[in-house]
C-alpha cells in the first residue's frame, strides 16, 4: 500500500498517475455523500471525503478502514491533509478533521511507502 498526502490542489493525483503510469479509469474518487469505496480500482483518491461521509452518518471511518485492510493492500491511497488550519467552528468539520488525522496515521503505519506532495513535487517520508 502506498499513501500519498498533501494539501489541497498540490498535484497529488497527477503525481500518482505519472509516477505509477496509471490513467483516470484506474481511479476511484470518494464522495462526501457516500460511504462506498470501489476496491477494484488501483487508486483510491480523496479518501478524506469518505471520512466526511462516515462522520455525517455517525460511523467510525477508521474502524471501516481497519475492517477492509486486506482490500487496501496493493492500492495507492490519496488523502488531502486537512490538519493544519484553524479549528473549524462546526462540530461535523471538527470531527472530520480529527478522524481524517486518525485514519491517515493508521494508514501511514500500515503503508509500505508514504509520500507527501508539495507544489507537485513528491517527497518520500516513509
Amino acid at each position: 500500500m502506498i499513501l500519498i498526502f498533501g494539501g489541497a490542489y498540490q498535484g497529488k493525483l497527477e503525481y500518482a498517475l505519472s509516477t505509477y503510469k496509471l490513467v483516470e479509469k484506474d481511479v476511484y474518487h470518494c464522495d462526501m455523500e457516500s460511504m462506498v469505496i470501489n476496491f477494484d480500482k488501483k487508486i483510491i483518491a480523496d479518501l478524506e471525503k469518505f471520512v466526511l461521509a462516515c462522520v455525517k452518518e455517525g460511523i467510525n471511518a477508521k474502524e471501516c478502514l481497519e475492517d477492509n485492510l486486506e482490500k487496501l493492500q496493493g492500492k495507492i491511497i490519496i488523502f488531502d491533509d486537512i490538519s493544519q488550519g484553524v479549528v473549524p467552528i462546526y462540530k461535523t468539520e471538527r470531527a472530520w478533521r480529527e478522524m481524517t488525522g486518525r485514519c491517515m496515521t493508521y494508514l501511514g503505519q500500515q503503508a509500505d511507502e508514504v509520500i507527501r506532495v508539495f507544489c507537485g513535487i513528491g517527497n518520500k517520508v516513509k
Partner: protein
C-alpha cells in the same frame, strides 16, 4: 537564480526570502529590489505596510510598487540583472482576482501564473514568496475555494520554472526538487 518559497503563516518566510534576495544582490554586485504587491485600501493596510518598510530598513532594498500586471515592471527603468523579492504571490493573485470595482476574474490564476513565469525568465534572479493555505479542514464558499485552487495552480507553475523550491516551517527550511 529564481527561488520559490512557501509555507504557513508567520513561519519566517519573508525574513528568509529577504536574506536570500540580499545575498543574490550582494554576490552579483547588483541592485536589490522589493516588489510591493499590496494595494492599501484602509488604515490597517497602511499600518501593515509601514511595519514591512521598517522591517526592511537598512537592508538596501529599493521598493517597486506593482499590485497588478507584474510584467509592466520589466518595461520600466530597472536593472533586470538585479535581485528581486516578490512578497507575495498571494496578494498579487488577490488583486488580480478580486478587483477594486467589485468584479471578479475567475481566470486570474492562469494570468498570474503566466506573468510570474515570464517575470522569472525575464529577470532570472527573483525570490517569490507564497502562502501555503491548503491544509484547512473548512468547506469554503465558491470564491474562496476558487482562490485556493488558483493560488495552488500559480505555485505549481512557478515551482516548475524556479531553480529552487523551498518550504519554510517554523524557521526550518525544506528543499524540494522534481524527480527528473
Amino acid at each position: 537564480m529564481n527561488i520559490f518559497i512557501s509555507g504557513g503563516c508567520k513561519n519566517g518566510k519573508s525574513m528568509y526570502a529577504q536574506k536570500l534576495a540580499k545575498e543574490m544582490a550582494d554576490a552579483r554586485g547588483r541592485a536589490l529590489y522589493y516588489i510591493a504587491t499590496m494595494i492599501p485600501t484602509d488604515e490597517e493596510d497602511h499600518k501593515r505596510i509601514e511595519k514591512h518598510i521598517d522591517d526592511r530598513c537598512g537592508w538596501g532594498f529599493k521598493t517597486l510598487e506593482q499590485g497588478i500586471n507584474i510584467c509592466d515592471l520589466l518595461k520600466t527603468n530597472i536593472d533586470p540583472q538585479g535581485a528581486f523579492l516578490l512578497d507575495s504571490v498571494t496578494a498579487l493573485l488577490s488583486n488580480e482576482m478580486f478587483k477594486s470595482d467589485g468584479t471578479c476574474n475567475l481566470d486570474a490564476g492562469r494570468k498570474v501564473a503566466a506573468e510570474l513565469s515570464a517575470f522569472a525568465k525575464g529577470t532570472g534572479n527573483t525570490v517569490f514568496v507564497s502562502d501555503y493555505i491548503y491544509s484547512d479542514a473548512g468547506i469554503f464558499d465558491t470564491y474562496t475555494e476558487k482562490y485556493r485552487e488558483s493560488l495552488a495552480y500559480v505555485d505549481r507553475q512557478l515551482a516548475q520554472v524556479c531553480d529552487q523550491v523551498i518550504e519554510v516551517a517554523y524557521g526550518h527550511t525544506y528543499y524540494y526538487t522534481f524527480a527528473n
